[in-house]
């Protein structure tokens, strides 16, 4: 008995001590992934030239590729990865469902539908032939995507929470609304899109192709605001992951906090969908990966999720660029191919 207690205490001490190690490891992963994503790519730029560019010098070619193409792309990916991962974590906590994710809860599909409608309307209102995409809409896409995502989450909320559905049916409602909105988006694209379908398809797959500083600048405030809002909701979040009645006995208004956290998750996810398209599974997988890494050190879950979100998207995009060559594989395809096997394992494990 005494020995067990000692062993427990020492293991706890061991865990507390290695918490910093876990964080350092994740930071190291970020520190490795980001420079690699900037330095590697289809265009082969000598390392010395790349380093000179980052130091302020470098050839014109290297400056253009690194600073105008790869760096903003990586920055957008990092911000989107953080958004998706944190949104997934929040959704998993409030629905008490380990499988919640922006794309399973219908948020991504809502954003997709809004973007599809907006793009096609703007194409047809600006150019009668529908052959050119006007400059303005692209900058508006993230905002439009956000509205769509919020709308979808509102629908799920209306249907699921109003009728006191349990975690299972909230998820099923999300799946149903997602499927409905997806069918509508596909139909609208196929019905009205003509020459611009390829742009939409590229975006639908979830891609960091041709992302500029504008995209990063759009996403940054959402990411920062989302992260700033996290500390005050951590305690309510712990209670929300318990039962509704337990939460209420702690003096917490379950519904109000549920709504609040849902809005926060939705803002994070749908701004990211607007900027980079509905990248699948990052929101689902990253929190699980993080849980695996932190083990019982629950306090580290959030920071590790944030760091891993950045790494997952950056590494996935890099892999898609390197494997696909000139026809790069969109990051959304990479994450879906990697994510589904993991989802299947999770599904088979869930009781």
């Amino acid at each position: 008995m005494d020995r067990t207690a000692t062993a427990l205490r020492s293991s706890r001490a061991h865990h507390a001590g290695s918490g910093w190690l876990v964080l350092a490891g994740c930071l190291l992963a970020v520190a490795l992934a980001l420079p690699l994503a900037v330095l590697l790519g289809v265009a082969d730029i000598p390392l010395s030239d790349s380093l000179a560019t980052l130091g302020g010098g470098g050839s014109v070619m290297a400056r253009s590729i690194l600073l105008d193409f790869r760096l903003p792309r990586v920055a957008t990916g990092v911000l989107a990865g953080i958004n998706f991962a944190v949104a997934g974590l929040l959704l998993q906590r409030i629905t008490r469902n380990p499988l919640a994710d922006p794309s399973i809860m219908g948020i991504s599909q809502g954003a997709t539908l809004a973007v599809a409608v907006f793009l096609l309307v703007s194409v047809y209102s600006h150019a009668p032939g529908g052959n050119t995409l006007p400059e303005l809409p692209v900058a508006w896409l993230p905002a439009v995507g956000m509205l769509g995502g919020l709308g979808a989450a509102g629908l799920v909320h209306l249907l699921a929470l109003r009728h006191d559905l349990g975690p299972m049916r909230i998820t099923l409602c999300g799946v149903a609304i997602g499927a409905l909105l997806h069918a509508l988006a596909m139909g609208i694209i196929a019905g009205w899109g003509s020459t611009r379908i390829e742009i939409l398809l590229e975006w639908l797959a979830g891609s960091l192709y041709a992302r500029s500083w504008d995209h990063a600048a759009f996403l940054a405030p959402f990411t920062l605001a989302g992260l700033a809002l996290l500390p005050p909701i951590l305690r309510p979040l712990d209670l929300l992951s318990l039962d509704a009645s337990v939460a209420q006995s702690f003096g917490l208004s379950y519904r109000r906090h549920f709504t609040l956290v849902l809005c926060l998750a939705c803002g994070l996810a749908s701004s990211a969908v607007g900027a980079v398209g509905p990248i699948a599974f990052v929101g689902l997988l990253t929190p699980h990966l993080a849980r695996h890494v932190v083990g019982r050190r629950r306090r580290l879950l959030l920071p590790v999720t944030i760091l891993l979100g950045a790494v997952v998207v950056t590494a996935g995009d890099l892999a898609g660029r390197l494997i696909g060559g000139a026809d790069e594989i969109p990051i959304g395809v990479v994450t879906a191919l990697l994510g589904v096997p993991v989802l299947i394992v999770l599904l088979r494990k869930t009781p």
Binding site: R169, I177, A183, L184, M186, G191, L337
Partner: protein
Amino acid sequence: MASRPSPGPLLLSPGLLTAALLLTAALLGGWGLLLGSRPLRPDTLLSVLLHPSDAIDSILVWTLRLPRSLCAFVGGVGLAVSGLLLQILTRNPLAGPGLTGVTSGAVTAILLCFVLLPGFSSAYYPLVGLAGGLSAAAATAWIARGGSGKGGPMRLALGGISVALFLGAVTTYLILLSGPQSTSLFFWLSGGFQGGSWPQLLAMTPWVAIGLAGALACLRVITLFTLSEQAAAGMGLNPALWKPVLLLLAVLPVAGVAPVAGHVAFVGLASPHIARLLKPPGPGWLIGLTAALGGTMVVAADLVARTVVLPREIPVSIVAALIGGPVFLHLVRRHRFSSGTEV
């Protein structure tokens, strides 16, 4: 279905109801022959139908509008029967060709063939679709069953969604790879009967017919399955033998319809439920009503899709989603998913 009230008397006899549905489908189809970017007068239509000729109106009716309407009807019948069989087989009200991954499997397999093996004859596409649909259904079933042996409706839905997401990613990549053909592929993928022709009708009808006839031939088995698996086993039925047979029967129509119509959502899910609302007196009439409803719904949806924004058209899947989506949401909200025995 625990909460369903005991079956009351039908307003109409089931035979009459089925006949009424078929008549509706025929009337809608006939009306559809008049509509289009070049509308016809009823008397012109009648003379063209009775005396086919080389006139534009005749070609319009005989090579464009008539085969298309028939394709829509047969496709709807196939999807509805497939949905009903899947719901009975999985004892799950949410099952359907869409949510069990069957349609995605068939569509992705066909697309894979089209993009990567261009020399492959399109005559074999139904077989390819069959293989794809069966594998996707098997994968979904495997996920849904989980480690504990029995999975609930929730797990089936999420399993199907994850399979569909995976196949969707593959599909998107294939379309991006296909370059100049991507637009037309996307149109096919998003579902619809535009360009439905006599050869296509001939190609898909046997598959749908085998599914429907097979379901009617297995009526005794299906009746027992609708009761419970224990009852079925108690009556000397071997589930290990009959489950794969029913699954094959469910996938056959989708394999036939997918090469023509792509991904038509929600018809397979919604038709059996609407048929049940009509309270058929037995599984035989349930199959008949479901088939007639599916055909009528898709003919109506196709008519709306091709006439509402003339001269353009919207894909039939939009219309189907607008009808089927609310049905699905209603099911999710209404059913108590605790019991595993609902059909």
